[in-house]
Amino acid sequence: MDMILDILTIPLVQAVIKILVFVLGFVMAVGTVLTLMERKWMSAVQDRIGPNRANIGKFTGHGALHIAADGVKSLLKEDTVPAGADRFLYLIAPLFSYFPAILVWAVIPFAGPIGSVTFQITDINTGLVFIFAVTSLGVYGAVLGGYASNNKYALLGAIRTSSQMLSYEVFLGLSLIGIFMVYGTVQVSKIVELQNTYWFDGLIPKWGIFTQPLAFFLFFTGMLAEAKRQPFDQPEGESEIIAGYYLEYSGARFSAYMLAEYVSIVAVSAITVTLFFGGYQIPWLFPDGFHLLGYSLALPPVVVALLQAGSFITKTLIFCWLIIIIRWTLPRFRFDQTMDLGWKKMLPLSMANLVVTALVLLLTA
C-alpha cells in the first residue's frame, strides 16, 4: 500500500494518470460524443429528430450507437491516396490536427489543488504562452493535408486555412495580453486562482468575462476561427470548395480529421472557460467552502474539488454546445471578409483593448 502511494507521489506517474483520466477519459470521450451531439442538437434546432435508428436488439440509446457505426464503418472504408499526392505528408497530415487539441490540456486545471495534488497535468509557468504556441500548431494538419492532396479544391482550402489562422493568431495573442495585465501572470493555475477574487466585498467574482469583456469576444471569435467553426469555416467551405483541405481524405483518415475537429471544439471551450469564466471556480466557493456576504458553508476539500471539477466540465460542455448552436444559426463569412474582420476590425480592437486596459489599471492602481 505504501509502495503504491509512493509511486503515486512521483510527479511523472501522477502526470500519466492525469493524462489517462483527463485526456483519454474526458476529452476524447467528449469529442467523440460531440460528433453525435452535433447531429442531435442541429436536428433539434431544425425541428427534426436526428439519428436514432442504429440498434442492437431493442437498444438504440437515442442514436448513441450511430457513433459506433460511424467509427467502425470509417475504419473499413477504403483509404484513398490520390495520384500525384505527396504520399508521406498526405499520410501524416491528420496527425497534426490533434496536437493543439490535445497538448492544450497539459496546462488546463480541472479543479483546485488538494494539498500538493494538483488537477492539472503540468503547471508550466509560461502556461498561456504555451497555449498560444500550441494552438497555432493546428494549422499544419490542414495545410499539409490540403497541400499534399494534389487537388485544387484542397489547395484552396489549405491556403485559406493558413491565411485565416495567421490572421487570427495575431489578435488572439493581443487579446490575451489584457488577461496577463489584469492578473499579472501567465501561469494558468494562477490565473484561475485569481479569478476567485472579488469586487464589492466578495460579491462579483473577477472572472475574465467581467474584467476583460471585449477581450472575451475577441478571443472567442479568434478561437472559433482557429477551430474552423462556422462562421469561419471557409477552409472547409462546404458549398464552395466542397470539403476543402480534407476533400481527398477518405475512411479512417477522414474520421481522424473529423474527430480532431470535435476535440478541438472541446479544447477551445476549455480554454475559454479557463481564461474567461473562472475555469473550475464556482463563485463564492473557496478551498474551505462557500463564503458570501458573511454567510459561509464549510466543505471538505474533496467535495470542493469535486464541485470544481463538475463546474469546469459543465462550463466546458455549455461552451461546446454554444459553439455548435452558433454553427447552426449563422451563415458563414466569405473568405476575404474573414480576413478583413481579423485584420481590420479585430486587430485594432484588440490593440485598443490593450491600451484601455493598461490605462484603467494604471489609473485605478
Binding site: 425541428d47 485544387k152 484552396l156 458549398s239
Partner: protein
C-alpha cells in the same frame, strides 16, 4: 470593389478549376470552368446541357395533352405555373374559354407554386452561404404547401393538373379547410427567416453588392421576373399582360434598387408575401361553378358523358387516338413563371401533335449572364450569386 494597388501578379499561376457539374453549389448540373487568381475569379466559361432531356423533341412526338406532364418537369419547383402557361397557350390556339372557377383555382395553385419556388430559392441561397437551418425551415414550409397541392392534384410536384378548357379536377373542400392554417405556418416560417437572416451582417455581407447587373444590362440579357425586378424594372406579366383573373386581384410588384443578390432575395421574399395575399383574395372571390369546360376538339368529355352516351364515347376515343386537334397556326403565350417570363410558342399543323413546342425558359438568360456577374468576384461569391439566380435545370436545359 476596391482594388489594391499591388501589382496583380508576382509570378503566381492562375488556377483553372472546374466547378460543377457535380458540385454542391451548382445544383448538380452546371459546369463553370473558372480561372482563379488567388481567390478572385478572372474568367468563367459556363457549360450547360447536363440535364438536356429533349423536351422539344418529345413534345413534337407527343399529343398536346401528353406534353403537360413534360411541362411539369420544366421548372420543377413551380410546376403548376408551367402547366398553366402551356394550357393557356393551347387554349389560345383553340380559342377556348376557361370557367371562372377554374381560372381562380389556377391562380391559387399557381401562387402556391410561386411561393414554393421562392422558398426553395431563398432557402437554398441561405444554405449556400451556410445558413443550413433556414434552408431546412423553408423546406419545411414548402412541405406544407406541397401537402395542399397534393390535396388538389394528387401529386406533390409533378401535378399534371391543367387541361385544355379547365383543370383536371376541382379544388376539394379539404383544400380550403387546410389552406389558411398552412398559409399561417408559412408566414411564421418566413418571419423566422427574416429574423435569422435579414439583419444578420454576415448574411448581408455575403449578398450585398455581389452579382450586380444594372437595369440596362439586365434587359440586354433578356432578364425577366424577380431578377429583372431586382434591378428596378417593374415588369411583371401578371400586370403587364394580364392573364387569368389577375386583373381582379390586388397586389404590389416588389422592385429592388441595386440589382444585386440581396435585392433578388428581398424581391423574392416580398413576392411570397404578395402571393399569400393574392391567394387570400382569390379564395374569398372564387365563384361556384364548373372546373372544366368541355370542347370536343380539345380534351375528353366528362366521364358521365363517356359512360352514358355514345357521342361522348366517340369524342373520348377520338381525342385519345388522334390527340387534341387545334386549328393550324402559331401562338405565343407568356405567363409570369417562378423565374420570370415563361413563354410557350406553339406551331400547330392541324394534327394531334404540336409541330413545334418551344418553351422560353426564363433562367436561360440568367445563366448566360453568369460570367458577367461573376468575373471580378471571389470564389465565395459564386455561391450566393448562383443561388440568387434560381437556376432550375429542367427549365434551363429542357
Amino acid at each position: 470593389m476596391k482594388r489594391s494597388n499591388l501589382p496583380l501578379e508576382f509570378g503566381a499561376e492562375p488556377m483553372d478549376i472546374e466547378i460543377g457539374p457535380s458540385h454542391p453549389a451548382m445544383h448538380g448540373i452546371t459546369r463553370l470552368s473558372t480561372r482563379l487568381d488567388g481567390e478572385v475569379v478572372t474568367a468563367v466559361e459556363v457549360e450547360i446541357g447536363y440535364l438536356h432531356r429533349g423536351f422539344e423533341k418529345e413534345c413534337e412526338n407527343s399529343t398536346y395533352v401528353q406534353v403537360i406532364p413534360y411541362t411539369d418537369r420544366l421548372n420543377y419547383v413551380s410546376p403548376i405555373l408551367n402547366n398553366i402557361g402551356y394550357s393557356l397557350a393551347v387554349e389560345k390556339l383553340f380559342g377556348l374559354d376557361v370557367p371562372k372557377r377554374a381560372q381562380y383555382a389556377r391562380v391559387i395553385l399557381g401562387e402556391l407554386s410561386r411561393i414554393s419556388d421562392h422558398l426553395t430559392c431563398n432557402g437554398a441561397m441561405g444554405m449556400e452561404v451556410g445558413a443550413m437551418t433556414v434552408f431546412l425551415w423553408y423546406v419545411k414550409a414548402r412541405e406544407y404547401l406541397w401537402e395542399l397541392t397534393e390535396e388538389v392534384t394528387g401529386a406533390r410536384l409533378t401535378h399534371n393538373w391543367t387541361r385544355f378548357g379547365g383543370n383536371a379536377n376541382d379544388l376539394p373542400d379539404t383544400f380550403f379547410d387546410m389552406l389558411e392554417e398552412r398559409l399561417k405556418k408559412v408566414e411564421a416560417v418566413l418571419e423566422e427567416g427574416v429574423k435569422m437572416l435579414f439583419k444578420n451582417k454576415i448574411f448581408l455581407d455575403r449578398v450585398k453588392d455581389v452579382g450586380v447587373l444594372s437595369r440596362e444590362r439586365a434587359i440586354e440579357y433578356g432578364f425577366t421576373g424577380p431578377m429583372l425586378r431586382a434591378t428596378g424594372e417593374p415588369y411583371d406579366l401578371r400586370r403587364a399582360e394580364p392573364y387569368l383573373v389577375y386583373n381582379e386581384l390586388d397586389f404590389e410588384i416588389p422592385v429592388g434598387t441595386v440589382g444585386d443578390s440581396y435585392d433578388r432575395f428581398l424581391v423574392r421574399h416580398e413576392e411570397m408575401l404578395q402571393s399569400i395575399s393574392i391567394i387570400r383574395q382569390a379564395v374569398a372571390k372564387i365563384p361556384k361553378g364548373g372546373h372544366y369546360q368541355h370542347d370536343r376538339r380539345a380534351w375528353l368529355p366528362d366521364k358521365t358523358e363517356v359512360y352514358g352516351s355514345i357521342e361522348g364515347l366517340i369524342d373520348h376515343f377520338k381525342v385519345i387516338m388522334e390527340g387534341s386537334t387545334p386549328p393550324k397556326g402559331e401562338v405565343y403565350q407568356a405567363i409570369e413563371g417562378g423565374n420570370g417570363e415563361l413563354g410557350f410558342y406553339l406551331v400547330s399543323d392541324g394534327t394531334g401533335k404540336p409541330y413545334k413546342c418551344r418553351v422560353r425558359p426564363p433562367c436561360f438568360n440568367f445563366v448566360s449572364a453568369l460570367p458577367e456577374m461573376l468575373i471580378g468576384h471571389y470564389v465565395g461569391d459564386i455561391v450566393p450569386i448562383y443561388g440568387s439566380i434560381n437556376m432550375i435545370g429542367g427549365e434551363l436545359e429542357r
